[in-house]
């Protein structure tokens, strides 16, 4: 399968299973739900899906409902992924994100130098490289902001449901209008990240020739045979 296609002209590169099923599933659940949340969210902010005048549709009503269901998928996927950082195998673990080892701290700079083209090759890594890992810490922080502001916004109209407990968050965001603002601005930060992430996945795959782009589908990267598992 994929292994042969790559192995064929890469010679001694070997497939390494880096992304387990939970990592891949939550990744795609997050991507797809975020796409739906973005489209519906923009329509909530400045409705462009209009009701034909004179007809009594329920367009914005449905858009909000879709946003809320996608929000459930998104929140649960993010939650599951964070829990998996502590329960799952090492490549999914939190140490992939927070550079706690001396080695990862040093490679952080090395990777950065490579990205700005001051170094011919990146320090070897198997899972996330240290710079990417640290970026994902910020991204998960933004996810948390989206989820908390989203829950706070939802609580505004959740008069009798248990979701009204999130009203405690409203003062933190300067009231519902502040929550709305943050929810909106962070959406753009995440979109910017999304573009960056997609582009750099393509680019890394092309430049480093290690199957990074395909790995999130198949789970495998293609790495030099000697790359040790602790080249984390």
């Amino acid at each position: 399968m994929a292994a042969e296609a790559h192995g064929a002209h890469e010679g001694p590169l070997v497939p390494v299973y880096v992304w387990d099923l939970v990592v891949r599933l939550t990744h795609w659940a997050i991507v797809l739900s975020m796409l739906v949340l973005t489209v519906t969210g923009i329509d909530i902010a400045r409705p462009f899906l209009h009701g034909a005048s004179g007809t009594a549709g329920f367009i914005t009503g449905y858009v909000r409902i879709v946003h809320f269901y996608a929000a459930m998928v998104f929140s649960l996927a993010v939650f599951a992924r964070v829990v998996w950082m502590f329960l799952g195998p090492r490549r999914s673990g939190w140490r992939q994100f927070v550079p706690v080892t001396r080695r990862r701290q040093r490679d952080l700079i090395g990777t950065f130098l490579f990205y700005i083209m001051l170094r011919p090759a990146p320090p070897p890594a198997v899972g996330h490289n240290p710079l990417a890992g640290l970026t994902y810490v910020a991204v998960f922080g933004l996810y948390a902001v989206m989820i908390l502001t989203g829950f706070a916004l939802y609580s505004v109209s959740a008069y009798t449901s248990y979701m009204s407990m999130w009203q405690v968050l409203l003062p933190v965001f300067h009231g519902p209008q502040g929550a709305r603002w943050l929810h909106h601005v962070v959406m753009w930060l995440l979109l910017g990240f999304g573009v960056h992430h997609f582009a750099s996945a393509l680019l890394t795959a092309r430049v480093e020739k290690n199957g990074t782009f395909d790995s999130i589908f198949s789970g495998y990267k293609f790495l030099p045979r000697d790359r040790k598992p602790d080249d984390a």
Binding site: E10, G11, P12, I42, A45, R46, P47, L49, H50, G51, S53, T55, A56, G57, F58, I59, T60, G61, R103, R106, G110, M117, P120, A121, P122, P123, P124, V156, S157, Y159, V168, P171, H174, G175, P176, Q177, G178, R180, W181, H184, V185, W188, L191, G192, V195, H196, A199, S200, L202, L203, R206, V207, E208, K209, N210, P224, R225, D226, R227, K228
Partner: protein
């Protein structure tokens, strides 16, 4: 307390308010409070027989708009009745006494009714420059508020200024204005009735509730009574069906505006504002802002002058950009810039690879030009390094 018992009926009749008007008023209050119709008899009885609470009305940094709203009611209902329900012992705008006499009246009232009088505060309290921005009879607003509110049974802050600081507290808040709750901590019972101005019906209902039941209505985290501030304007709005149907006013005066579509896209803050305007309306139910085609500006929310502006846009701008700057445009350009940067980076990177490969091919002509990650000197062991080099080429 004054003995005014049983004279209420006569007083009202003297003002041309019939028994029928009075009962109508009581059932209106019951409905506003969300209580069953049967309670209106209980309210009527309480209002007629219970002693009048003593009330002191303080004005600080304000425009007297709340007094106006309260006194200028077009029909002799809410204001007249409530003024007869209460013994208003101090109200700068309407009392006859002035100067030292007025100050003496205030001091006397507080002394005689320690712990049992009600204070209504209108306007914010400046704390800057030692309170010098607002003084009455040589005392700062802060001093007066501490003295008067400290011994009160309850304090009702009417209007957004008294409740949360309002307009005087808008950025950059030159006078250090605060709402009453913040300026005078430790008030026994604080009821906030924000809005610009307060809706007289809500004030009336709070006082009638107290007279009837001997306690204050349930409030939320911001001390706002739930009967009046328990729901957003959006969730009770008469135009809500148009919101859900995606039928919006795009511009003032357009076809949608003329037929009464939803005002969301011209900046309506109804979704983020708690108040019962859609149900109670204003000026004895004559109309209300959204009803006459103007988007809600969120006047009952804390710091609305800073947080709800621009009034005719959906969101506040981004700090550092023009206040009217469009977040979505900024976001779109930023996203496009990220994409462009990466495309450029990618092209350079690939170009360089190709160039290196060609050059190497020309110089040493190995059978197979290296294409993978080349040698990685500093952090791998020499052995691994060598192996990697082999592997990659």
């Amino acid at each position: 307390m004054r003995e005014a018992v049983a004279t209420l009926r006569q007083e009202l009749e003297g003002r041309g308010i019939s028994r029928r008007d009075f009962v109508g008023f009581c059932s209106g209050v019951a409905a506003l409070l969300g209580l069953p119709r049967s309670v209106s008899a209980q309210i009527a009885q309480a209002l007629e027989t219970k002693p009048k609470p003593v009330l002191v009305w303080l004005e600080f940094q304000d425009c007297a708009g709340n007094s106006e709203s309260f006194l200028r009611a077009s029909k002799p209902t809410a204001a007249d009745i409530i003024l007869d329900l209460l013994s208003v012992d101090y109200h700068e705008t309407i009392m006859a006494a002035a100067g030292h006499q007025a100050e003496a009246a205030l001091a006397g009232t507080i002394k005689a009714n320690q712990g049992s009088y009600i204070v209504v505060v209108e306007g914010s309290i400046p704390t800057g420059a030692g309170g010098a921005y607002c003084t009455i009879g040589g005392k700062s607003a802060l001093q007066i508020a501490r003295e008067v509110c400290g011994g009160a049974l309850a304090v009702i802050s009417v209007g957004t200024c008294a409740a949360f600081g309002g307009l005087p507290a808008a950025s950059p808040n030159p006078t250090g204005a605060l709402g009453v709750g913040e300026a005078v901590p430790g008030i026994r019972t604080l009821i906030n009735l924000p809005a610009c101005p307060v809706n007289a019906e809500n004030l009336t209902a709070v006082i009638a509730y107290f007279i009837t039941f001997g306690k204050w209505p349930a409030t939320d985290r911001l001390n706002r009574p739930l009967f009046a501030y328990g729901k957003t304007i959006h969730d009770a709005c008469t135009r809500r069906a148009h919101f859900d149907a995606g039928q919006y006013v795009e511009q003032f005066g357009d076809a949608g505006h003329r037929v009464g579509y939803c005002l969301y896209k011209v900046g309506c803050k109804g979704p983020v504002t708690y108040q019962n305007c859609p149900n109670v309306q204003w000026n004895e139910g004559t109309n209300w802002p959204i009803g006459c085609g103007h988007p809600c500006i969120g006047c009952a929310e804390p710091y609305f002058w800073d947080r709800m502006t621009p009034f005719y846009a959906h969101l506040t701008g981004i700090p550092g950009f023009d206040a009217a700057a469009d977040i979505d445009k900024i976001g779109l350009y930023a996203t496009a810039a990220v994409a462009a940067t990466f495309t450029a980076h990618g092209l350079v990177q690939l170009g360089r690879r190709t160039y290196d490969r060609r050059k190497q091919a020309g110089a040493t002509a190995p059978p197979d030009p290296p294409s993978g990650p080349p040698a990685e000197p500093p952090d791998t062991t020499p052995a691994a390094d060598a192996a990697q080099k082999g592997a990659a080429s």
